[in-house]
């Protein structure tokens, strides 16, 4: 299956890209997606979304999902 991964803000700069496509043949969680895009542990307080909704790191993903990782929000 294919997962579209996005990075925002400071994480985007650290990753050097605003996203990538990852592929996996077996079941996958958000944590698993993170491990496919980098060897580093996720920064403290890093947030994640699946298909535009906040989710936990244990959430399962499915083929075609959009998963995003980003630091604490600072709008308003």
């Amino acid at each position: 299956m294919q997962i579209k991964v996005k990075f925002f803000a400071s994480l985007r700069e650290q990753m050097g890209t605003d996203g990538q496509i990852v592929e996996s043949s077996g079941p996958l969680s958000i944590s698993g997606v993170w491990q496919l895009v980098t060897d580093y542990s996720p920064p403290e307080n890093l947030l994640c979304s699946r298909n535009l909704k906040y989710v936990d790191w244990e959430e399962s993903v499915e083929d075609g999902d959009e998963v995003a990782f980003f630091p604490p929000v600072t709008g308003g």
Binding site: F8, S49, L52, A68, P72, T74
Partner: protein, 146 residues
């Protein structure tokens, strides 16, 4: 109800006046209370002079988040109407960033809803600020809690 992400500068008081005059739900005499909050860019933050700022967001998420928090506020506070604007892109000191306005029959609902919407927006909506200082840049780490 009007919810917009703005890529360029806006006049918050003109926006409130125009929306109030044009909104079908805000017919003359129907509302008794309007509470408004406007957040504006300061030229100083955490002890440093700030020259400008870039406001990045996750567009596919932010629009839905603002619509959802506005819809929830409409229902839970029995509001008459809501206006929310949020700036993105390159911002300079004195530029308005966020505008949240709530209209209701009586003051309590408008006050409570306006504040609640701002707190949800600041804690949940996927915007990020990067400040340009006199020397260098930095990402704002987190928002102040309520």
């Amino acid at each position: 109800m009007k919810i917009e992400i703005r890529p360029s500068a806006y006049d918050p008081w003109q926006e409130v006046a125009d929306f109030q005059a044009a909104a079908n739900k805000l017919s003359p005499g129907s509302y008794g209370a309007c509470a408004v909050f406007v957040g504006t860019m300061r030229d100083f933050n955490e002890g440093d002079e700030v020259r400008s700022m870039v406001l990045e967001h996750y567009p596919e998420m932010t629009v839905g988040q603002l619509q959802e928090l506005a819809h929830n506020a409409m229902v839970s506070h029995g509001l008459i109407d809501i206006l929310i604007l949020h700036r993105v892109g390159e911002i300079h000191p004195n530029d308005p960033i966020v505008l949240v306005a709530a209209w209701s029959a009586h003051r309590s609902e408008a006050f409570n809803a306006c504040r609640e919407m701002m707190e949800i927006l600041k804690s949940k909506a996927t915007f990020w600020k990067k400040e340009k200082l006199v020397s260098g840049e930095r990402w704002v780490g987190k928002n102040t809690p309520a």
